[in-house]
């Protein structure tokens, strides 16, 4: 077994990998930052992987050099029939090095950005969770149980296993149930009985008129007036409908209304108001009216139908806040910043605090937009949430009231742009509640320049970076920095392979000349090899990066790529020559 280990350099390589990962694993445990406890093990694994990838090349270089320097020359080189040249011996190992380089490429270009994004997720979610907890505690002090419960629940969406907070939530819910007043059931029943019994949906004018006549005969003048009006609105040529509506109106006016009839009149007026809003395209107002009516008259078919229609229309240009607020507890791209280049003479700078996708769509939060020209600031506004859809961001959010929810005193919440300055400028826009975005959805996560700390492109996938490079200059970013990042990533797999091969030659060149088996005490020195390999490989990479970054600055990207390939080809050639030149004895 021991002999096998000594003769197979890859056994030593994998032992080095295992030990390095172990060291990074324990290091990650002890350096766990102040994230939520639920992120401990995900953090440890992710951080270990990131560290492993960061030091993979020096660890490989050290391991390969050690392995080849310890290969017992006589046993290895003299294979059966006689001496083999070193190059021939190594050629059998080359395939494994190429496979290793391919695996490394997949990890560094594919998995590494994901791991970096994961780390960013731990940061941002911990921050969000702390905010929710803080808000909940403040609400508790103010005895605002609803707000406290909402924020505790949101906290638990992030920190699912926190038993302490679960206990607090459970106690709070019990308390809230105990404090809730009984609903006035009698009044509710009266209201429900008042609903209009027929659905006005999909009927022709003559059918409405027939319904109106029926109601008139039954002395239900409200319903008669309502349906007669509807018939007239559908077909303005129906004078009979207009006349019936007028007669019903007269009857209502001449009648002493009972309390119930007053209520019915109010319902009718509200329905008419909602319908008017709906017809004029003001779906938010229509939604609000029908939502209120729905709370009072949950079984009214007309109300239900128009509420549903309003919701459908609303979702085209607006969004529900409950859906948008889901991104608070989700991971996403944070602190996006870009120039929204829409006009030659004007600049629009957009800041997005967070961008994340939910089942309901892609939402943004904490959006700030500033537009100016050479002379003045045109407008500057902030909006808490927005929904992305087909190259535009809709900025008007409304609160959705759950069916069967308890009646509330406060009006449903709405979020719209809040003008910080230059409101008149914004009003000149065709639709002040819609922001046309120039960057595509795919490009947005690459525009992470909202803060100096978040500006790193490490978390961005290679292909995304490659696609974004061409346009990134128009969004207010330096294109050469992205080109340099692409070249840096491409450099890593090439360096892995070249340095692997070079360390084979170095290890062989500086072989141990022990007469007996090496003493176990030499194991003590093993950690020294990676320690020396780290700065040496860093110097190698830094020297190449200077050259490539300069090329990225001064030349076109395609020419920089050619420079890169020529350089790597040259280095590979030199390495192969060095490798082939090693002596077998």
């Amino acid at each position: 077994m021991r002999r096998q280990i000594e003769q197979n350099p890859f056994t030593i390589l994998f032992l080095f990998y295992l030990l390095a990962f172990g060291v990074f694993f324990f290091y990650s445990i002890f350096t766990f930052p102040g994230h939520l406890a639920t992120f401990l093990w995900p953090f440890v694994w992710t951080n270990s992987f990131i560290l492993f990838m960061r030091y993979c090349i020096p660890v490989t270089v050290a391991a390969v050099a050690v392995a080849y320097s310890l290969l017992p020359a006589a046993d290895t080189v003299l294979v059966r029939s006689g001496r083999q040249p070193f190059a021939k011996l190594v050629s059998s190992h080359l395939t494994t090095f190429i496979v290793l380089a391919v695996v490394y490429t997949a990890l560094i270009l594919g998995l590494h950005p994901l791991a970096v994004r994961n780390m960013e997720r731990f940061d941002s979610l911990t921050e969000e969770a702390e905010k929710f907890l803080d808000k909940a505690k403040k609400a508790m002090v103010k005895q605002d149980s609803n707000t406290a419960l909402l924020n505790y629940q949101r906290y638990l969406e992030i920190d699912e296993g926190n038993r302490k907070i679960m206990g607090v939530v459970s106690d709070l819910q019990k308390k809230m149930i105990a404090d809730r007043p009984e609903p006035p059931q009698a009044a509710q029943q009266d209201r429900e009985s008042m609903r209009i019994r027929d659905l006005a949906e999909g009927k022709e004018a003559y059918e409405f008129l027939e319904m109106a006549e029926d109601y008139f005969e039954q002395e239900d003048y409200f319903s008669a007036h309502y349906y007669a009006n509807l018939a007239y609105e559908i077909d303005s040529g129906r004078e009979d409908a207009r006349r019936l509506a007028a007669r019903a109106q007269d009857k209502i006016a001449s009648k002493d209304l009972s309390k119930l009839e007053e209520e019915e009149k109010r319902l009718y007026e509200r329905k008419k108001e909602g319908y008017k809003h709906f017809s004029s395209g003001d779906y938010i107002k229509a939604y609000k009216v029908f939502l209120e009516l729905k709370e009072e008259y949950p079984r009214d078919a007309y109300v239900n139908s128009y509420l549903e229609k309003s919701v459908d229309r609303l979702s085209e240009k607006h969004f529900y806040l409950d859906e948008a607020e889901q991104i608070d507890t989700l991971p996403g791209a944070t602190e996006l910043l870009f120039v929204n280049y829409r006009d030659e003479d004007e600049r629009e700078i957009v800041y997005i605090g967070k961008l994340a996708g939910t089942e309901a769509g892609i939402f943004c939060k904490d959006i700030e937009v500033l537009r100016f020209n050479d002379r003045e600031l045109l407008y500057h506004y902030h909006v808490p949430y927005g929904r992305l859809s087909e190259g535009a961001m809709f900025l008007h959010g409304v609160e959705r009231i759950a069916q069967g929810a308890a009646p509330r005193e406060a009006a449903p919440r709405e979020t719209e742009p809040r003008y910080l300055s230059g409101a008149s400028g914004l009003r000149r826009e065709p639709d002040p509640n819609m922001l046309v975005l120039v960057p595509t959805l795919e490009e947005l996560p690459t525009l992470k320049g909202g803060s100096a700390a978040s500006a790193s492109a490490e978390g961005i996938g290679f292909l995304t970076l490659w696609k974004a490079r061409g346009q990134i200059g128009s969004y207010g970013y330096l294109e050469p920095t992205i080109s340099a990042e692409i070249l840096r990533r491409l450099l890593m797999p090439f360096s892995f392979l070249i340095l692997c091969l070079l360390s084979v030659a170095v290890g062989w060149r500086f072989q141990a000349r022990f007469s007996a088996r090496p003493h176990w005490i030499l194991l003590v020195f093993m950690p020294l090899f990676p320690l020396v390999a780290i700065p040496l490989t860093a110097l190698y990479l830094h020297a190449q990066q200077i050259l490539l970054n300069f090329a990225a600055l001064r030349l076109r990207f395609s020419i920089s790529l050619v420079v890169f390939l020529v350089l790597q080809g040259l280095l590979l050639l030199i390495t192969m020559i060095i490798l082939a030149g090693q002596r077998a004895d």
Partner: protein, 333 residues
């Protein structure tokens, strides 16, 4: 006796090769850093910085070549006497003489200035701020539409994070570029005024940054350069002594190259020793001398402490090498 010709030629060849490599990379890095100033200004800055860069890369090239020569001697041992004399004398002569020659290339006004640095041409604000892009300045991000000689307009300051207003707009501002900071004064007066004082970090500086792994090493090499320049400006005998101390110390680390039968381990130990000596030199020069100087009545007496310590340590290593470490090892014994 072949060594008397072979070793100096080999050493000279490696020094020249490394000198060209280091110098080329330094020029490219410096050119890249000043690239944002525009073609003409960047070329002027690079031209003005060339003598400084030549001086800066010489010690690194000589010491790296010295190490390679020692490794070469360890691999193919020849005459012990020449193996001691040629590296020591060669490194000393090349560094001491080369340094003086290269210093002559510096303009006279900068030869007498405190510390030489590359790019002594007055930098413009374009080195630190580029119009039409988001400029990162420490924790802030700044967008400037137009940059004049001293004025900027309009400016958008991105506060980001948890600030109430993430974006702040200023119709115009002023920019002042100093040696230690770049001051950006935005807004006219009162509440809307905002002054930002940032470290002068060139726009493309991060692209040519050495990265966290090499930061300490590069800062130690920078210190070594500053120290050599300081003693060079102080007096020539002091400069010769400093060069001698460094050469002896780095030659002393070559002792590890013959320590065991495992050559890779020897090289590793020697590299660590080399790095350790450089770190010790900086530690003494930057930390210990400063701390001791606070308690001493004559802190000037300590100014050669790093060189003296390095000379003593190096001398001891050379002595151990001569007395205890076999110069040639028989194969397989």
């Amino acid at each position: 006796m072949k060594d008397i010709i072979r070793l100096p030629i080999f050493f000279l060849f490696v020094v020249i090769l490394l000198f060209i490599l280091f110098f080329g990379l330094s020029v490219l890095a410096y050119w890249g850093i000043v690239h944002s100033e525009g073609r003409e200004a960047a070329l002027q800055a690079v031209e003005a910085g060339l003598p400084g860069l030549l001086v800066q890369v010489l010690p690194a090239a000589v010491f790296a070549a010295l190490f390679i020569l020692m490794a070469h001697i360890a691999a193919k041992p020849g005459s012990r006497f020449l193996s001691l004399l040629i590296p020591l004398a060669g490194a000393f002569v090349l560094l001491a003489v080369g340094y003086q020659i290269l210093q002559q290339l510096e303009p006279a006004d900068r030869q007498t200035a405190g510390v030489s640095r590359a790019g002594a041409v007055e930098p413009s604000s374009r080195r630190y701020l580029v119009p039409g892009v988001f400029n990162t300045a420490e924790s802030k991000v700044i967008y400037i539409e137009q940059i004049g000689e001293r004025t900027v307009s309009p400016v958008v300051l991105v506060e980001g994070g948890s600030a109430d207003r993430k974006l702040l707009y200023f119709p115009q501002g002023f920019v002042l570029v100093g040696d230690d900071s770049v001051v950006l004064r935005m807004g006219m007066a009162g509440m809307d005024r905002n002054t930002l004082e940032i470290d002068p970090q060139p726009v493309y500086g991060a692209m040519f940054d050495e990265g966290p792994v090499l930061k300490r090493l590069f800062s130690d090499v920078d210190f070594l350069n500053r120290e050599l320049l300081r003693v060079f400006r102080s007096s020539l005998p002091e400069f010769y002594f400093a060069v001698l101390a460094l050469v002896v110390a780095f030659y002393g680390s070559g002792m590890f190259l013959r320590l065991s039968r495992w050559h890779l381990l020897n090289i590793t130990l020697a590299l660590l020793a080399l790095r350790g000596l450089l770190a010790l030199f900086c530690l003494l020069g930057e930390g210990v001398v400063f701390e001791l100087g606070k308690d001493m009545s004559n802190p000037q007496a300590l100014k050669f402490l790093p060189e003296v310590v390095l000379f003593v340590v190096g001398g001891l290593l050379v002595l151990i090498d001569l007395l205890f470490v076999p110069f040639k090892r028989k194969e397989g014994v």
